[in-house]
Symmetry: C2
Subunit: 187 residues, 2 copies
């Protein structure tokens, strides 16, 4: 065997904050960067979520992973959420593990099939190929989760920016409810 | 896109016990099944570890994952440990996340390069392709961790059964110590 080997490495996931240390790349998303993700889109600098990435070569032999810390909050009745994406290579799967807080994962296929899974510490979620996924913080504390995916998968945010998800997770009488997205499919 | 889609699914990782519920396949390993893994090999029925697997099609688009619960204990000076393996497809990577207890992950290449990483709740471990890996419980409570790997990787236990790892993790003056394996490389 003559392949060149990567060096193993470690990081510490802070089970309180959800942050990874060391992190190789930190991304933050603010409300004003989220385009038309919400029905009401305030032009606000509010931090919605941070992603703490571990980086490896983006091949189908490697696994990319990160933690995401999604703040509590709402825009209108919609809870704070991630942008959501398909994988560019559509058949690539991903796994999530809940670390802190209470959330919802919204999954949808290009055909409009959809599912909502509830996230909590220790919840494990399997996102098969072909399913776009978005996380929603339905609680009052930060939602943190660990995700791992095949490193060549890539991210396709554009399809979701254009069409949205078939359903939204909104607050209704003080509790999360899954409702049809009135703008689903609109270009 | 006409590929057939898998259905998403969830499981709950019990952060106390390390068990997954539901689990698709549970494996247990007893001392007597571990061949020559330990320098002293008692013919005992003692349970060393359990693996709680989530199963998906074993392709390079999917991710297999499991939790492992490794009991505390020793055989001579050697702490209870997993068998350890390379991946059959050598370049396939794996990630671990510590859930409970205190452990050591022993990593080694076929060339004899080796590394020991310490495991604890929230520790994240990147195991690149080409690195065999074994977990060792160096604490007094069960060691539990979550692992995810590319689903076509396969397991090669035979290479480790034959050659062992270059180093052992043993108790020395009441604390874990990494020492050379006197039988390393013996057929």
């Amino acid at each position: 065997m003559t392949m060149e080997l990567l060096a193993p490495f470690t990081a510490q996931l802070d089970l309180g904050s959800g942050q990874l240390d060391p992190t190789h790349k930190r991304i933050e998303r603010r409300l004003m960067e989220m385009g038309d993700a919400y029905l009401e889109a305030p032009d606000a600098d509010t931090l919605v979520y941070e992603v703490f990435n571990l980086q490896v070569p983006e091949t189908n032999a490697n696994i990319l992973s990160c933690t995401t810390v999604l703040q509590p909050g709402k825009v209108g009745r919609e809870y704070f959420m991630t942008k959501g994406h398909f994988h560019e290579i559509r058949d690539r799967a991903e796994v999530y593990v809940g670390v802190r807080g209470q959330g919802a994962m919204v999954l949808a296929t290009e055909g409009g099939e959809h599912e909502v899974q509830w996230m909590q510490p220790g919840s494990v979620h399997y996102i098969p190929g072909g399913w776009a996924h978005r996380s929603v913080n339905v609680g009052s504390e930060p939602l943190a989760f660990y995700a791992a995916w095949i490193a060549d998968a890539g991210h396709d945010y554009g399809s979701i920016e254009q069409r949205g998800f078939p359903v939204l997770v909104v607050e209704e009488d003080g509790a999360p409810a899954v409702v049809p997205n009135p703008r689903y499919g609109a270009a």
